[in-house]
Symmetry: C2
Subunit: 330 residues, 2 copies
DNA sequence: CTTATTTTGTCTAAAAAGGCAGAATGTCCT
DNA sequence: AGGACATTCTGCCTTTTTAGACAAAATAAG
């Protein structure tokens, strides 16, 4: 078991003190050129890499952030959650931040003592972990949840407004019987979208119909069941707003299987702008949310907090209605 | 900024030495009952949690493992990759192992110096990271790649055999014109499945047809394109083996959209046993791979290696043909 | 009271960073 | 050129937190 070389080995080989090596490696203050070259050569020769554990111990903080995600299937497998993981993962790699992944039940205790910051990808109704992080004074960012009562930075989109835009679009096309397949009520985002749907109808004084509002959970299965339920109604809707593109695609499949046409017989609007929505059987009209930007913003805000340079911020990024081929005027 | 209490604070409050506190916390040797109680109370009162960074430094190894995944979209969003992440994440949580996630380009340098072990979820053809891990003597487990030339434990399924079973099933049903939608050639698993397809046909002396073998990349889009290509052939196949359930579901959608029936006009076999395959338009016949068991096994093997108790092992878990409704005899 | 056993505390090690003092070099003036 | 002073470098030592070897103290047994 070959031991990694440490800073002392480098110092000996270069004929300087440990401090000087540290200074060269961390570019912290000026070192005479000749010494710097010596040290750099020694570093290269010994393949020296600073021990991040020791570094973290001395500095009193680590360069590690934790990403906390709920483990529920529907949510975890949504394009949204995955793109957030992938986005944050990619950005952390380029910023040389270590990313600890906690896929967890929301009221489990996390061991947060060796983490420099935390991103909550979804804060569910049990906020125990979030509150604990704040109590421990760990810089924290929440994605897609506006947390007003805690010292937590938030990166959100306006889900309510986005949903409303989707439904308004259908209304403007003349639809009045607009159904809704929701993302459940575990996440704030899902709840906000439901709110947006209700508000849009209310603004035009269209009464809500219970049989038009079906609860999904972001899984394809739930969307299939929901779509079948809607299609079996005596008074079918003429349009459906679906809380995610994945679910919208599944709904379209169901409709096509029943021999109906999209958008001729049924208009559909999704939410996400999942890249595969461009290519499916019917290119999907949807609400785009800038997931990569959200991930990037979250990591950047957290980085600022961790370096003591930032303060709690609430950032709301814009959504956009993307019109493709899944809607037709009524 | 309240500082976390450290072991010294506990020692003072309990009126004992640091060592005694350490002994109580780590249950390492006998401590007089009265003292143990004192210490336990002090721990509770001060909410003492051992600083894992210091612990890792002293012990010379951390309780952290890294999960390395390629960032390519098709692979990353496959049910397979996700279930592996979720499985490993869940198991690490219950074993109190910290999970570092590296979503990375396969020839990027990883900083592995503060990691106790590594799991490679997919080893692509560039094996740089894998070789580096081995060179640094870091315990390593590869999932779904049989690495014979390096000291790496492997947890695999027999992809070749599984694929062969799928195609044999179609052959036994009387099909002779069997097409294949692959998962590309970035992963060993995908390549092995292609091998299995070829072997099954070769065993029955059925010549391979180039136009029947279409390369996908685990994305739904690629499956849609592939299915459309197959359906536009003059001599259509009577059955398709698809390298993942996600892609198989998309292929079924395409077939139904064209007004053909599954399984009446086209038999389909998938690979994965993705839970949503039970519920789609046509419950899917598929090859089940035990993803949760794979994840668990990988973590357990790694844990053994990290504790010096295990040795390099090659574990192959069984697949199983699950017959549902997407195939009919020819 | 001696020997054996249990329990406890002291001290060092682990790796790197940074304050501080001192060494080396440079600048300026006479 | 030589001395006074400033500036730039450098090394020593301490700090961070915990684990564990070892020796010392306390207790138990005979």
């Amino acid at each position: 078991m070959r031991k990694n070389s440490n800073i002392e080995d480098v110092a000996k080989l270069a004929g300087v003190s440990i401090s000087t090596v540290s200074r060269v490696v961390n570019k912290s203050s000026t070192v005479r050129a000749s010494n710097r070259i010596c040290v750099e050569q020694a570093v290269k020769k010994l393949k020296f890499k600073p021990n991040l554990i020791a570094k973290a111990l001395v500095k009193g903080k680590s360069n590690t952030i934790a990403l906390v995600m709920p483990r529920y299937e529907g949510i975890f497998y949504s394009y949204y959650a995955l793109e957030i993981i992938r986005g944050i993962g990619t950005i952390c790699e380029s910023l040389k931040i270590d990313l600890l992944l906690h896929i967890t039940h929301p009221n489990t205790n996390l061991n947060l003592s060796n983490v420099g910051g935390i991103i909550f990808a979804e804060v569910l109704s049990e906020r125990k972990q979030l509150e604990e992080a704040v109590a421990l004074n760990i810089p924290t960012v929440a994605i897609n949840n506006l947390i007003k009562d805690l010292a937590v930075s938030c990166v959100t989109i306006n889900n309510k407004q986005g949903a409303r835009e989707a439904v308004d679009y259908l209304l403007d096309l003349g639809h009045r019987d607009i159904a809704y397949i929701s993302g459940g009520n575990l996440t704030q985002a899902a709840k906000d979208r439901t709110q947006g749907y209700k508000l849009a109808l209310a603004a035009r004084k269209i009464p809500l119909r219970g049989e038009f509002m079906i609860e999904g959970d972001y899984s394809r299965k739930s969307a299939r069941d929901a779509a079948e339920k809607l299609l079996s109604l005596k008074n079918k809707p003429t349009a459906i707003f679906v809380a995610s593109d994945d679910m919208a695609q599944e709904a379209i499949s169901v409709i096509l299987e029943k021999g109906l046409r999209v958008p001729d017989d049924m208009s559909i609007v999704g939410f996400d702008d999942n890249p595969s929505s461009i290519y499916g059987a019917v290119p999907l009209t949807t609400i785009r949310q800038p997931l990569m930007v959200m991930a990037q913003t979250a990591v950047k805000e957290l980085d600022l907090l961790m370096n003591g340079e930032g303060k709690i911020s609430r950032i709301c990024l814009p959504t956009k209605l993307i019109i493709r081929d899944s809607c037709l005027p009524r």
